[in-house]
């Protein structure tokens, strides 16, 4: 198991290294002169000079990349051109918010999705199954921002029971925090739930037709215990893979949710940084998202090994 972990960790480092390379390449891939691209054409030569140096454009690519990378390893993402502060300071405020929301979304949508998938598979063809299938299909094909806007329109504008926007930490004002969080979390959960539900349902249906479930029935086990003890663990193996993808999906969706609900998270930061041509911030955000997804996938592979002994041995 230790070996397996090390191997996966090594692979992850390789991937992350490649990610840094491509992220850094961003600067050089912008058409035209990056400084003009960032600041526009109407700038004074001193300004140009300053930013040119700040971006390290006077040095060869590999040297710049090396410096950027060594800074990154030490937790230094450079300075934001727009906000004129170190990128790390921005991230320190923004990242926890995004994490906080996404972890909640992830937890709810996974547990709810698995639960709904199991119910729907066990009671296949029943009304509950039909309802769950229709319900999850509807939200699978509706874009998240639309759900967000509709929710804002009804709950915040018409009924005025929830605030339209903003974010407050629960320890600052618990009631307000909860009220502000309801809509963004709902959007996040609804959009990511269906994939989870449907995957669990189909893998569960496959498992209950396996020979070892028949063996368990022939032992005289209760149907409930068969599902709990024999079926779920086997059915979750493909679902776990999906969780890795799901984390990526949820993080990828956070710019949208955070923009719709004006939440000062990393997604929001990324969107405005792109608008402001704040390249160092964009680089940092993209890198962090990639890192999160990589780590999520590694975690998935490890959990995979824990659940399925056949993988562990290899």
């Amino acid at each position: 198991m230790g070996k397996y972990f090390l191997k996966r960790f090594g692979q992850m480092l390789v991937v992350l290294f490649l990610v840094t390379f491509f992220v850094y390449l961003l600067l050089d891939l912008i058409p035209g002169d990056p400084v003009y691209a960032i600041l526009g054409n109407k700038i004074r030569p001193e300004q140009y000079e300053r930013v040119y140096k700040e971006l390290g454009l006077d040095k060869p690519f590999l040297v710049r990349y090396g410096e950027w990378l060594s800074g990154l390893v030490q937790g230094d993402f450079g300075r934001s051109i727009y906000y004129k502060v170190p990128v790390v300071e921005l991230l320190a405020k923004r990242l926890p918010i995004t994490f906080f929301i996404n972890v909640i979304v992830m937890t709810i949508s996974t547990s709810l999705g698995i639960w709904m998938g199991i119910i729907s598979a066990v009671r296949r063809g029943s009304k509950v199954d039909n309802f769950i299938t229709v319900f999850s299909n509807i939200f699978a094909c509706v874009p998240g921002f639309w759900i967000g806007i509709i929710l804002v329109y009804f709950l915040a504008v018409k009924l005025q029971i929830l605030p339209t926007m903003g974010f407050t930490w629960p320890w600052e004002d618990f009631a307000l925090s909860v009220r502000q969080l309801i809509m963004p979390i709902l959007v996040g959960v609804l959009t990511s739930l269906s994939v989870m539900t449907r995957q669990t349902r189909s893998s569960m249906l496959e498992v209950v037709n396996q020979d070892y479930i028949r063996t368990a029935r022939a032992k005289g086990m209760k149907e409930k215990d068969i599902i709990r003890k024999h079926a779920i663990r086997n059915a979750l193996i493909p679902v776990i893979t999906l969780m890795g993808i799901g984390i990526g999906f949820i993080f990828g969706g956070s710019p949208i949710i955070e923009t719709v609900f004006s939440i000062p998270g990393m997604g929001n930061l990324l969107v405005s940084a792109i608008g402001n041509r704040d390249i160092p911030v964009v680089q940092a955000c993209v890198f962090i998202m990639a890192a999160v997804i990589c780590m999520a996938n590694m975690a998935v592979d490890i959990v995979y090994g824990l659940v399925d002994p056949r993988i562990r041995v290899k």
């Binding site: 070996k3 191997k7 396996q210 020979d211 070892y212 028949r214 063996t215 368990a216 029935r217 022939a218 032992k219 005289g220 086990m221 209760k222 149907e223 003890k229 024999h230 663990r233 086997n234 193996i237 659940v307 399925d308 002994p309 056949r310 041995v313 290899k314």
Partner: protein, 678 residues
């Protein structure tokens, strides 16, 4: 009278298919006494497994038990709902079942000990500690060594035979009175099969419980069962005492089966008489006798009178047939004259068609990404063989012996590492694929599984005709169509079926397609890799006869691979026995059966039960323990040594193939002593 523990009365189980009820089990009645071993015999689709599943109410939708009673100790258990407390106590607690597929019947993510313990705790009030001890005891009972370590392992760490042992342990866990072995040993090697059946018999005796063996293998029945029920199309056609049924089979189907299957003690000249036709489609069963369309004995009565019911023909012997035993005997006299004795021509020319010289194929055991190179494992180890034109060589060995690897080397699917494979004197090993092309037309093959070896989306005609196009053997579309029709007729298939796809054919028909495809390029040599193992017993004889007939007609040469020595006897001129990559014995067919020299050959022969209880009783059997893999890591000397009952120090030395009598070679250092014993 013995205590009647289980009695099934008039059981009917149906499946809803397209709004129609298909009766898979149609009025089946049987019983088992305490301490008895009975057998339910039937081919696939006969309803034998559904019957057993119905007893335990394990039938799932769209299936449904429609009528009947299942009396356990006189109490009807069908009146309990399928998921009731009472029914669950019976399942596993009173009646337990061992299923066919040991590879998939255990939960892959739970430790085996846990899976056994779970069953104990379900049915007995025990502490975890006590259950743990009982688990270890059970593992010892079913012959698993190092049980303390192995109980914490997962199913994939066990071989098929070992997994089936664990299934047996689960079945025994709660001390059930009735064990149902539903084709439990079918997928296993003959030596493993013999070990397991012997063990089950022992355990049943020890605990004074009962055993129901559900199988298609009449040999097993003859060796182990006290009474037999023969099933066909969801009904019982004949039942009675084993001795009685084998001595005086009263139903044409039973008679047909006994004539169709190859037997170890057969005279080589005996012609296998297949049962013509196919099992009936259960969806539209007629009101007449279900076997009538395939019955050679059938008279006018059979088509006019209603379905025959089971009636006593002799004391305790029942059959469902309008014809009396005398009438059957009379009819038999008539068609025995019609059976022509075919004699395989054997070697046509003293010409070496295929010659293998010291062929070796080794694989590296994968060491993984970071580990680097692993150990080298020789799947085929220094094999030398010669096959002359027109000869049929039977190649026999259990799974893992390297017979399929050898076949793949000959077909150049694998590249042999060492040695020479000479086809018509030309070594094919160094040939490039481009240079092989001409030879590929001359070397053909027929595969084991007719269900997965045919492309499901191609029509039968194009499957058969494909080699014609590849080797450019026909020039016009008419010639192509004619040749395909001719090939269809050669294997006794109607050319009108050309446009169907593979799944519309039965197993036997699909194998005919496979044969037609193999014949398309006019080959000289065909490699038949277990061509009949996946087929029903009544169909196997059809295919064996067809292959033999074609060999004569087209002057073909075969290597016929099988895992069991009874099958190859009829068709082979010479037989080679393989063990751990080496040929351990090779001899002319009859010589090998008369005088097997290698202890492994002897063990293989004695592991195969003969479908005749009288013969079975007289037989002396040699049991070997363990499995093929047990010797896999042995490097010095004989690979069979760890399992060999006759092994001595001498066996650690290297061995040489010795000629014992003319054409009879054996690879064993004990051979001098063996000679004296015989």
């Amino acid at each position: 009278m013995e205590e009647r523990i289980l009695e099934v009365k008039n059981l009917c189980t149906g499946f809803e298919v397209d709004g129609q009820t298909v009766r898979a089990v149609d009025g089946v009645s049987f019983h088992v006494d305490r301490g008895e071993i009975i057998s339910i015999v039937g081919e696939s689709g006969s309803g034998k497994s559904v019957t057993q599943m119905s007893i335990l109410q394990l039938i799932r939708k769209p299936g449904r038990i429609m009528a009947g009673e299942v009396l356990l100790d006189g109490q009807d258990i069908l009146k309990y709902p399928a998921d009731s407390e009472e029914m669950r106590k019976i399942r596993g607690g009173r009646i337990s079942m061992i299923f066919q597929e040991p590879m998939t019947s255990l939960n892959p993510v739970l430790r085996v000990g846990e899976q056994i313990k779970e069953c104990i705790l379900l049915h007995h009030k025990m502490t975890n500690q006590e259950a743990e001890e009982r688990t270890l005891q059970l593992l010892r009972d079913v012959g698993i060594k190092n049980e303390k370590i192995r109980k914490d392992e997962y199913p994939h760490q066990f071989s098929g035979g070992m997994r089936q042992r664990i299934m047996i342990a689960i079945a025994l866990a709660a001390g059930a009175d009735i064990l149902i072995a539903d084709e439990a040993t079918t997928a296993l090697d003959v030596t493993t099969q013999a070990q397991l059946l012997e063990m089950m018999k022992e355990l049943v005796k020890r605990y004074h419980s009962s055993l129901i063996i559900v199988t298609h293998n009449l040999g097993i029945v003859a060796r182990y069962a006290q009474r037999i029920y023969v099933m066909y199309a969801g009904e019982i056609l004949e039942s009675g005492d084993t001795q009685q049924i084998f001595a005086h089979p009263s139903h044409p189907y039973t008679r047909g089966l006994l004539k169709a299957i190859p037997r170890l003690d057969d005279d080589k000249e005996r012609v296998l008489e297949p049962i013509d036709g196919l099992p009936p489609d259960l969806a539209d069963k007629s009101a007449y006798c279900a076997f009538e369309p395939r019955c050679k004995y059938a008279g006018r009565d059979c088509r006019e009178k209603n379905k025959p019911v089971l009636h006593e023909t002799d004391k305790g012997h029942f059959a469902a047939c309008h014809l009396e035993a005398e009438e059957l005997d009379e009819a038999e006299k008539n068609f025995e004259k019609r059976t022509l004795k075919r004699h395989h021509h054997g070697i046509i020319k003293e010409e070496k068609l295929l010659e293998l010289q010291h062929v070796t194929k080794s694989f590296k055991k994968s060491g993984g990404f970071l580990k680097g190179g692993g150990e080298v494992f020789k799947a085929v180890d220094d094999v030398s063989l010669t096959i002359k034109k027109g000869e049929i060589l039977g190649l026999v060995g259990e799974s893992g012996c390297g017979k399929s690897t050898l076949a793949k080397c000959i077909l150049k699917i694998y590249q042999a590492n060492e040695g020479k494979i000479l086809f018509r004197g030309k070594d094919i090993i160094p040939l490039k694929e481009r240079e092989m092309k001409g030879l590929r037309a001359q070397i053909s093959c027929i595969f084991q599984d007719p269900f997965s070896s045919l492309d499901p989306r191609q029509t039968a005609g194009s499957i058969v005709g494909e080699p014609l196009k590849i080797h450019k053997l026909v020039s016009t579309p008419e010639a192509y169509a004619n040749r395909v029709d001719e090939l269809f007729r050669m294997v006794n298939l109607d050319p009108a079926l050309k446009d169907r796809v593979a799944h519309e054919f039965s197993g036997g028909q699909r194998q005919r397609l496979g044969i037609a495809r193999a014949l398309a390029s006019n080959p000289e040599f065909i490699l038949c890799d277990e061509p009949i193992s996946a087929l029903d017993v009544s169909i196997q004889a059809q295919i064996i006869n067809l292959l033999e007939e074609l060999a004569d007609k087209l002057q073909l040469t075969y290597i016929f691979i099988a895992h069991d020595l009874s099958v190859v006897k009829h068709i082979s001129d010479r037989i080679a026995v393989m063990y751990l990559g080496k040929i351990v014995e090779i001899a002319p067919c009859e010589e090998l059966y008369r005088n097997p020299l290698h202890p492994y050959t002897q063990a293989l022969l004695s592991a195969i039960p003969i479908p005749d209880p009288v013969v079975e009783k007289e037989r002396k059997t040699i049991r070997i323990q363990g499995e093929v893999s047990d010797g896999a890591l042995e490097i010095r000397g004989c690979g069979f040594r760890p399992r060999c009952p006759k092994a001595t120090k001498e066996c650690e030395h290297s061995m040489q193939m010795k000629e014992y009598t003319e054409g009879h070679f054996v690879l064993c250092n004990q051979i001098k002593k063996l000679k004296e014993e015989i």
